[in-house]
């Protein structure tokens, strides 16, 4: 079976992407230098500082955000029974970003430590949940592609307007403004260990809690009533899925900004290659999403012409999405 090869294949790709992410940049390091810097055996001081203080947190944030976005894409597609559902297109990422931006813009005035380890992800989670709630009201399960995407467009426009407003009223504060722009374009620059701790532990926990739900997700993806008649506690499963997917999206957004199309592209490619069984698709997508995001981040570093991570994923994902739309279902 092809699916049996998938896990080792994806692991190899991910490990290679992690090593490349640690090795490439303004200072090019060899694999042995990277390993030396990580283990503390040998290697020079500079390499150790670059790897441990800069590239490792950046890489871990990329792994966490990529896995989270791809996993929540898988969940949303099955949940809405629509292969075009995606946390970005549905507006959940925008909700998380608006939450984060609100803290950045208004935090100083309210006396909050703007980018503290707690306030930023929490605000992001609150924003994402508001967006998720709105999508669920606007487009019921099994809703057609048109309705789902139109709801996403409306929500993205609305949340985007909120973000623009915050951007305008902070126009006088250059630093705040730059931070907000960072969120809107998504990227892994200047990620510190604080960002790692902000996202990685809960994202790992969320992924671990999602994995056993793959069996039920298979049944749910073919219909809510039939799933319940076959023995699934649909209400409980749906609640868990939407809570986990929203938190994963929110945290990915809190640590990396809006990064589109990962949740759409990665599950789709893996579904085409290895089939729709969610017991496999969930772990495959987590690994694949992490690797994909690292590779896109590498592109921004290898071609330092001002590319942003969100721009690269959009350049890859946008045409793919259009191809999916044209493809007969």
């Amino acid at each position: 079976m092809r699916a049996r090869l998938a896990l080792p294949l994806l692991l190899v790709i991910l490990v290679a992407a992690i090593l490349a992410s640690l090795a490439f940049g303004e200072l090019r390091l060899s694999v042995s230098q990277v390993v030396g810097a990580l283990t503390g055996h040998g290697g020079d001081e500079l390499a150790r500082t670059v790897v441990r203080d800069f590239r490792l947190p950046r890489t871990l944030v990329g792994v966490a955000a990529g896995a989270a976005l791809a996993a929540s894409g898988v969940v949303m597609q099955a949940f809405f029974r629509n292969p075009l559902a995606d946390p970005g297109l549905l507006g959940v990422s925008s909700g998380g970003a608006l939450g984060a931006v609100a803290v950045l813009a208004l935090g100083p005035a309210l006396g909050l430590a703007a980018a503290s380890i707690w306030t930023l992800p929490l605000a992001s989670i609150v924003g994402a949940f508001i967006a998720t709630g709105a999508v669920m009201m606007l487009a019921q399960r099994g809703a057609g592609t048109e309705r789902l995407l139109l709801s996403g467009i409306a929500l993205n426009a609305l949340l985007g307007a909120g973000t623009s407003f915050l951007l305008t009223i902070t126009a006088g504060h250059f630093e705040v403004n730059a931070q907000i722009l960072f969120w809107l374009m998504g990227g892994l620059e200047n990620r510190s260990w604080e960002h790692v701790w902000m996202g990685l532990p809960i994202i790992l926990l969320g992924c671990a809690l999602l994995l056993p739900l793959g069996r039920g997700l298979n049944l749910l993806s073919l219909g809510e009533q039939s799933a319940q008649s076959l023995g699934v506690d649909v209400r409980r499963l749906r609640r868990r899925l939407i809570v986990l997917a929203t938190i994963l999206t929110a945290l990915a957004t809190a640590i990396g900004g809006i990064i589109g199309f990962v949740g759409l592209l990665v599950p789709h490619v893996l579904r085409l290659a290895f089939g729709p069984d969610h017991r496999r698709l969930l772990p495959f997508s987590m690994l694949g999403g992490a690797a994909f995001l690292l590779i896109c981040d590498l592109v921004t570093r290898l071609f330092p012409i001002g590319l942003r991570l969100g721009v690269v994923t959009a350049v890859v994902g946008g045409p793919f999405f259009l191809w999916l739309l044209r493809r007969p279902r």
């Binding site: 099955a78 993806s221 073919l222 039939s226 319940q228 008649s229 076959l230 023995g231 699934v232 089939g275």
Partner: protein, 240 residues
């Protein structure tokens, strides 16, 4: 006599009113009625898929006290819609009937064979015709080995051969002690069932042996057609 499936004062606001039922094991039951009479609602309510007023008992046990897993083992429901958004293989979908049995695969191949799906087993369900997709969800219901089987218009989209096979299977399951409910539009087929339930405008208006319930009067008032009873369906041959 023990009851397999009971309902008292079963009501789904606006869709089903005050239905009382008591079906035994081994009964093959036809459910008929005009469009919108409440047949699908009755099936969904009995299967525990809708919030309802009134009481439902499976084997004398209140439905609300039965766990979801146990429900999956005891009742199989086949809905009218067989829409698949993801390209699972036919075998994978039929194997979902074993969810409540912790994916123990026994009976899956037999269920595929019973619905004439062995040659299609590896095909993605997204590449099947409407009739084939209905055979898949019927096979999934068979794979549950549940004694209560509720099939909502299972033969509406099937060709003659497979429709006859579904009727034969329903009879077979009832003879093995199951309780099988089948909703139908072809009321002529209902005469071959043990019992017929007639729904009209959200109410149960007939419940009993087919020949006693499906009279010309009832057919006229419920379906608004004139029924002609014939002893043979083959017309007299023209004189040569």
């Amino acid at each position: 006599m023990t009851s397999a499936l009971q309902a008292s004062a079963l009501t789904v606001p606006g869709r089903l009113e005050d239905v009382d039922l008591d079906l035994g094991p081994g009964e093959l039951v036809a459910v008929v009625g005009p469009n919108g009479a409440g047949k699908s609602t009755l099936f969904q309510a009995l299967a525990g898929l809708l919030p309802t007023d009134g009481q439902i008992l499976w084997n004398g046990q209140p439905l609300s006290s039965i766990s979801f897993q146990e429900r999956g083992r005891r009742l199989a429901w086949v809905g009218q819609e067989a829409i698949f958004d993801f390209a699972f293989s036919v075998r994978d979908v039929v194997a979902q009937g074993r969810y409540a049995w912790n994916d123990d695969p026994s009976g899956v191949t037999e269920a595929l064979a019973a619905m004439d799906l062995l040659t299609l087993a590896d095909r993605p369900v997204t590449r099947l015709s409407g009739g084939e997709r209905h055979r898949v969800i019927l096979a999934r219901a068979l794979a549950t080995t549940a004694p209560l089987q509720l099939w909502d218009e299972p033969v509406a989209q099937l060709d003659v051969r497979h429709a006859l096979e579904v009727h034969r299977l329903a009879r077979h399951l009832a003879e093995a002690g199951g309780t099988v409910l089948v909703s139908l539009h072809d009321i002529r087929a209902a005469y071959r069932f043990d019992r017929v339930l007639v729904l009209d405008r959200s109410r149960l208006v007939g419940n009993g042996k087919p020949h006693e319930v499906l009279t010309a009067d009832l057919i006229r008032t419920v379906f608004r057609v004139e029924a002609t009873f014939v002893t043979s369906l083959v017309p007299e041959l023209p004189a040569t």
